[in-house]
Symmetry: C2
Subunit: 336 residues, 2 copies
DNA sequence: TGGAATTATGTAAGCGTTTACATTTCAACC
DNA sequence: GGTTGAAATGTAAACGCTTACATAATTCCA
């Protein structure tokens, strides 16, 4: 069943059928109706491959994501896909894992698939090491690239992010104001986003003229789901003599690890130790006590990102960066 | 840059280039090398649209998922995508939500996209009401359909699932053996999988000749993330006089809700109340106490499902059903 | 060394659209 | 009724591959 069959049955040329299919203006209403009826009646659907070949596009966007099973990234992918679908685009998902080689590989698979645009979900796609961002710049020469929670100055790269620096500075500042000066900053990966959080944490100290201790900036080197590992890690630090009365974590999983640590050490939360998570994921309400955390309005970010993507594809020029503010969600693990 | 450019530069015909590209046997090694060198040198990549048009396939599989932000489904999507990629296939993701109309719509979008196969992730795609499964049967007339945790007898539909009936019967049976006869079964959606779990729960009572109370089969009607809602729901049941010394839940989120309920009611876990989750998600270790739960080897299921998919596409006949057994993970919320 | 069998390569016809350009139709006006 | 310009429709050439079939080159053996 092709456009020829339809054209024959409707007694018109294939061009007219094509015009009807593509909603061209210059078709007599009567003709349009006739064609549409036949199409309906035959259950004809255009061949997307042929259309892709003709238009050099299949209205498809590539979603690159290190690990779509991560709670936060999964939510992002979900919202992005839904927004793209609403705009009439398909989503090709490619989960790369966290190492550079696989990210490059995933990216080139998507580009070979001739997607109209690339969306990189998660700040882990951009690196502190500028050289390691070259692959993004290269991709941007072919298609517009959207970064969720990443920042890169480059033609044809569009960034949508939340101001993690600001949120973390605010959280840390509030704790400092409560005369809690020994705040442990717990992070997990050296992503753009983590680094911004760290910078915010440090800025809070600096702006209050308080000394920063390097020992309190702690990097957990383990899986994204290893709550027990985080707990052990903190116990270990404790054993080595490190003391702290608050933990600000780069994500909720780390914060839950801290909660487990506190329970193990018989510390009362929040009296003896305050714990703040990040992302306002389901973990923050699963936790006991529930986590005070930061919500960065992921759904909003995603809808903005897709809007930018679609407008760019439509030829409307878009701002290179859109920055949203997070919101502190007060729960039981810290009274800020 | 097309196959013509390459053929010209290599001094061969486009057919030969095509053969090299597709790994055909009948190419002289010397010729192959020459072509490959030129391709490499030019950085040529074949146009997938044209290839798709020629082959009527773009090596793409459609993944249909109600909600890929759900912890469990997200993991499934992740593993499926990775396995598909390894097999050389692309994944188009389509998140439909839970109502039938949107599922049908998502499915037809994927079919119009001419995917080679459809994978339905999650038992929510099949319904108790046989009529509502017709759309799957229709799809199966076009492409092979893979069901993860769903069961449907139909030509060209392949099911990969875990034996939830068995696992739930085992869990319930162990509790009954401990003389705990007032076990609340808590579920969340009337999916195939939930119904199997319920059947297993009931079977355990029956096989031990114990009376079943209808009141103890409880349906929570709320969002997939609403832990507090579950807690309230159970408190409400308690207020209405319902008593139970154990909860077996259809997923970990529900179980965490039960944990919250227990804490609110000052019930000790597991002394006063035993709680069993399902899925062995991160929630089960985030919870305090950690959940005893059922692991159904999702990664294995997914890899098997994709294997079945790829083999089917490759023309090798495959078993219509593959059933795995779950594993009970003992943690703190119940000593089984 | 000739010729059959085998292997390698080339030619050209699809695949099903879109769209520039050509042609026809038609309403409006003189 | 003839002219004109706009609107509607048609024709045919891309788009860049794959592949059946035709042809050329090579191998093998009598």
């Amino acid at each position: 069943m092709t456009i020829y069959d339809i054209s024959k049955q409707a007694g018109v040329s294939i061009a007219t059928v094509s015009r009807v299919l593509n909603g061209s203006e210059n078709v007599k209403p009567k003709t349009r109706k006739k064609v549409l009826d036949i199409i309906e009646q035959c259950g004809y659907t255009p061949n997307v491959f042929a259309r892709g070949l003709g238009l050099n596009s299949m209205k498809t966007v590539g979603i690159l994501c290190a690990d779509s099973s991560d709670i936060y990234l999964a939510k992002a992918v979900y919202h992005i896909e839904r927004n793209l679908k609403t705009a009439g685009y398909h989503s090709i998902l490619n989960c790369t894992g966290y190492d550079l080689a696989h990210k490059k590989e995933g990216l080139s698979l998507l580009l070979n698939q001739r997607v109209d645009s690339i969306i990189m979900v998660g700040s882990n796609f951009i690196s502190e090491n500028e050289k390691d961002n070259q692959y993004i710049r290269d991709a941007a020469k072919q298609v517009p690239v959207m970064l969720l929670n990443g920042d890169l100055d480059c033609e044809n790269v569009f960034c949508t992010m939340c101001d993690d620096y600001k949120s973390m500075k605010e959280v840390t500042g509030r704790l400092l104001s409560q005369k809690i000066h020994d705040i442990l900053f717990l992070y997990h990966s050296r992503t753009y986003s983590s680094m911004k959080k760290l910078a915010g944490y440090q800025a809070a100290y600096v702006s209050m003229d308080l000394p920063l201790s390097k020992d309190l900036t702690c990097f957990f080197n383990g899986s994204h789901e290893d709550i027990d590992g985080v707990c052990d890690y903190l116990c270990n630090l404790h054993d080595k003599g490190l003391r702290f009365r608050a933990v600000v974590a780069a994500d909720d999983m780390l914060a839950v690890g801290a909660v487990k640590y506190a329970r193990k050490m018989n510390l009362r939360i929040p009296q003896d130790i305050k714990i703040v998570g990040y992302n306002n994921s389901i973990l923050s309400v699963c936790s006991e006590p529930k986590l005070t955390t930061v919500d960065n309005h992921l759904e909003l970010l995603c809808s903005q990102l897709v809007k930018t993507c679609i407008c760019t594809l439509g030829g409307t020029s878009q701002p290179a960066k859109t920055i949203f503010s997070g919101e502190i969600i007060l729960r039981e693990s810290a009274n800020l």
